[in-house]
């Protein structure tokens, strides 16, 4: 069984990290940094799937490279680029490559990325993808044979299935309904969008408590005051409060990583009693992860 599942089942506060594969074949730095800063510090490492619709090395291959270094990956899968055949096939591929965790996501629209003219697929949505995974686990796929019977798989995969949620968005009710559907469709853990508003997150956690699903609060490193302001303008459900922006604006450039690390630690300390873990998105500052975990008092 995957460490991520084991530790969450055991009731331990779990920390996960995240890496983004490179645009090009120069993969060594990503793998080396994961090994140096994330291995042993976090329980599992998410590998993004063409994040923000930018073409890169695929999540599946990068996940396998992490497995080979003894790092447990979370295979992020978006519905934007593959139809149901390719999604199911990649899930079987992931299973035979020793990948145990999958995070089912809708995926940013192609117009957000660097190939805006591409055809968006969305044959399945995140709920449909979770249902497809559960079906593979039960030993059949979404198709039918010539007689109309379910196709029996020659060997069924097992995954620890995750999904995402936006706890502090404008329409929390809609988020909660969708999360209920995802959990009913098979989601076993949740990693959230970035949270900077602990009271709003606590209110969200009270709403989803009946679902009994472990939630890892999303923590995104703020690299500068400018980035925080950009997120407030452009990232839905993310509102960085003014006092944090001021802390970053007042910090000397060489102190920013320290300040940002301290903010992350403080957010986790503030919220760790109402959730089951934290998902750290460092956006390249992987070397800060050990300090964040320490600052969080974990």
């Amino acid at each position: 069984m995957a460490q991520l599942q084991q530790q969450l089942s055991a009731g331990r506060f779990v920390v996960t990290g995240e890496v983004g594969p490179p645009k090009g074949t120069h993969i060594a730095p990503m793998i080396d940094e994961a090994e140096q800063y994330l291995k042993g510090t976090v329980t599992a490492v998410n590998v993004t799937d063409l994040q923000t619709a930018v073409m890169r090395v695929g999540s599946l291959a990068a996940c396998r490279l992490l497995v080979e270094r003894g790092i447990e990956p979370v295979f992020q899968m978006v519905c934007r680029d593959r139809n149901r055949l390719a999604l199911q096939s990649d899930l079987l591929s992931a299973a035979v490559l020793g990948i145990e965790n999958v995070l089912a996501l809708t995926g940013d629209h192609v117009v957000m990325g660097d190939h805006p003219e591409a055809k968006p697929v969305y044959d399945l949505d995140s709920v449909g993808l979770l249902q497809a995974i559960a079906r593979l686990e039960a030993g059949s796929d979404m198709g039918r044979d010539i007689k109309g019977n379910e196709n029996a798989l020659d060997g069924a995969p097992t995954f620890f299935k995750g999904c995402c949620a936006t706890p502090c968005g404008a329409n929390v009710d809609a988020q909660v309904i969708k999360l209920e559907k995802k959990v009913e469709a098979g989601a076993q853990f949740v990693q959230t969008q970035a949270v900077y508003d602990p009271p709003a997150f606590e209110a969200f956690m009270r709403r989803v408590e009946p679902l009994k699903v472990p939630v890892l609060v999303g923590i995104v490193m703020l690299k500068s005051a400018g980035m925080a302001k950009y997120m407030n303008r452009s990232v839905p459900g993310v509102q960085v409060p003014d006092d944090l922006i001021r802390l970053l604006a007042d910090a000397a450039k060489e102190d920013r990583q320290k300040v940002s690390t301290e903010i992350c630690g403080r957010l986790i300390r503030r919220m760790k009693d109402c959730c089951q873990g934290a998902h750290l998105m460092t956006l390249g500052w992987d070397h800060c992860v050990p300090d964040i975990v320490q600052a969080a008092g974990l």
């Binding site: 117009v111 969305y122 449909g128 936006t166 329409n171 809609a174 309904i177 969708k178 839905p236």
Partner: protein, 237 residues
């Protein structure tokens, strides 16, 4: 002409689960032309609903219901009967169902699946669009189409890209289709419809049979072509 086919009776009744008072509204345009609508359809729907212990508060056939302004004017005289109904069962293409839903303040339930519109979004189209998916789900989305309103055509609710002001991640000018659906369902008191699981679409239905691609203009072209082919033989004789 827009080609529609009737939904199976059980699907119509499932769409109207929990609804007891229904107004039936049929389009006298394309559905009559492709013999799915018109008076025979209206009579059958009345029998189906009364047979299922539902009250039909009224019924009407309108010439074209693809334009909501026209629908609004024509439905004025039927306001009382529609007001008594909890839902309006609409026999038309997806554009008509949405136009009605936008005008009546009631749940608009499609009685037909739209197969082919040939890029023709009605006689006088407004903002409603139909993607001819052949599996109309407007009954569960407050009469607003997620296939054409959502940039990703998602079927189970919004993605994480709904902006805080209710716009879509693809453009600040574009409203999030699922946020619109949420607001409509909230107004209709039917937010539970969002909890329903929608199956992935059957894309075979979008590759329409040749017969549905053919139009009156196509028939005229074929006739002209046949004339042209037969004429030289005639002159030789």
């Amino acid at each position: 002409m827009n080609a529609t086919e009737r939904k199976p009776d059980n699907e119509i009744l499932e769409s109207l689960a929990g609804v007891t008072r229904v107004f039936i509204l049929g389009c006298q345009g394309c559905p009559v032309g492709c013999e799915t609508g018109g008076q025979p359809w209206l009579d059958q729907m009345r029998a189906l609903l009364t047979g299922a212990d539902k009250t039909v508060t009224g019924a009407a056939l309108l010439d074209m219901i693809c334009n909501k302004a026209i629908v609004g004017i024509r439905l004025g005289r039927l306001a009382r009967q529609i007001g008594e109904a909890e839902a309006v069962l609409v026999g038309s293409c997806g554009v008509g169902v949405q136009a009605v839903g936008n005008m009546v303040g009631r749940l608009a339930v499609p009685a037909m699946d739209t197969l082919s519109m040939g890029d023709y979004q009605g006689l006088w189209p407004s903002e409603e669009r139909c993607a001819e998916c052949g599996e109309c789900m407007l009954a569960f989305t407050g009469g607003l189409c997620p296939i054409t309103l959502c940039a990703k055509s998602l079927v189970n609710g919004s993605c994480g890209g709904t902006q805080d002001d209710g716009s879509c991640e693809v453009s600040p000018e574009r409203r999030c289709g699922w946020q619109m659906i949420y607001e409509r369902l909230e107004k209709l008191g039917r937010l539970d419809d969002l909890k329903r699981f929608a199956a992935p679409k059957d894309f075979r239905k979008r590759d329409i049979p040749d017969a549905y691609r053919r139009t009156l203009r196509w028939a005229l072209e074929v006739a002209e072509q046949e004339d042209a082919e037969t004429e030289p033989q005639n002159t030789e004789k």
